[in-house]
Amino acid sequence: MHEMSIAAEIQRIGRATVERHGDGRLDSVRVAVGELTAIEPRLLVYAWEALTRGGPDDGSRLEVEWRPALQFCAVCGENKTRGTGSWLRLCPDCGMPLRVEGGSDLDVLEVSFTPREREGG
């Protein structure tokens, strides 16, 4: 259950981004999570909700963009996506090396916040 630690890193980056651009209430953070990161998007969102509850970011949303790993076998000419286990590096049908694209993303893409009203402004 390292989703909690990952959520804490996302919150740290989200807060730092808000502070760099003034100050305000964090509304949402959009992240990319690749299939090969062993992070479960549903658990990550639960972790985010648990982590932010009762704090300054209570009510903010975590939006997860899922990035699959794509596997191609040059010999079979087939796309093996998800059918046979996305971590395989050798084709289960012919034993030749698979070309793997994507799936290792774990990035904060966008931070949305509402700037605080200036006092007396």
């Binding site: 390292h2 062993a38 395989l88 590096r89 050798l90 774990l106 931070v111 509402t114």
Partner: protein, 228 residues
């Protein structure tokens, strides 16, 4: 009412961890220390393997270890008993080590100018795989008592570990474990990885493992001296 601002940043979630891991890697390169991150499920024999390793390499090399657990200093005590510096990281529930924890543990001193630093991660086949600790490579352990179906069930670690060690091979006559099947599954996940088999109890395979460590240290030190 202020308008919402959307800031595109495209920053790696683990950028902070990776930054500290990079600092550690630089420091280990300067010190000529080979750093190994050992990952396995609880009870697969990480500490026993390290005890056998230290007994074999300890005469000729300076070794040290950082061990992670939820609670107790049991593992560090076992390694200290061999006369090497061992720092116990207590994660208090967290299922993995991160670079910050390792840096703090090394800050307690006694880890300067080691030849080998062994980082024994928290027993867990999933969570530790995502965290770079500044190591030269990851080592996965799989004991024969755990079953031969595990590589494809926990593909992350077996595909990322440069070396997999099948441990407790002295138990092979007593358990149903197809060594060839496991080797084939690990190769399908990680065609370039090295697969070893060892028993800390009987000593089988420990020499091969220690020879691999010596080779990797020699190439790290020679690369470092070429750069200088």
């Amino acid at each position: 009412m202020s308008a919402q601002k959307n800031i595109r940043i495209d920053e790696r979630v683990l950028s902070d961890n990776d930054h500290i891991a990079g600092q550690l890697r630089l420091r280990f390169a300067e010190q000529g220390t080979l750093v190994v991150n050992l990952i396995s499920s609880p009870g697969s024999g990480k500490t026993s393997l390290l005890e056998a390793t230290v007994r074999t390499l300890g005469k000729d090399f300076r070794t040290g270890s950082v061990v992670g657990d939820i609670a107790t200093e049991r593992d560090a005590d076992r390694l200290r008993a061999l006369g090497i510096p061992a720092s116990q990281i207590l994660t208090g529930g967290a299922c993995h080590l991160d670079a910050r924890l390792v840096k703090a543990a090394l800050g307690r001193g006694g880890f300067e100018w080691l030849d080998f630093l062994f980082i024994e991660n928290v027993g867990n086949l999933i969570c530790p795989t995502a965290y770079d600790l500044g190591e030269d490579f990851k080592v996965a352990l799989l004991s024969v008592a755990e079953g031969d179906d595990k590589p494809l069930k926990y593909p992350g670690i077996f595909s990322r570990a440069a070396v997999t060690i099948i441990t407790k091979t002295d138990l092979l006559p007593h358990v149903s474990f197809d060594l060839d099947r496991v080797r084939a599954e690990i190769r399908a996940l990680n065609p370039t990885g090295t697969i070893l088999a060892a028993s800390a109890r009987s000593g089988d395979g420990i020499r091969d493992w220690c020879a691999l460590l010596r080779d990797r240290l020699a190439s790290k030190v020679s690369i470092a001296s070429e750069v200088v």
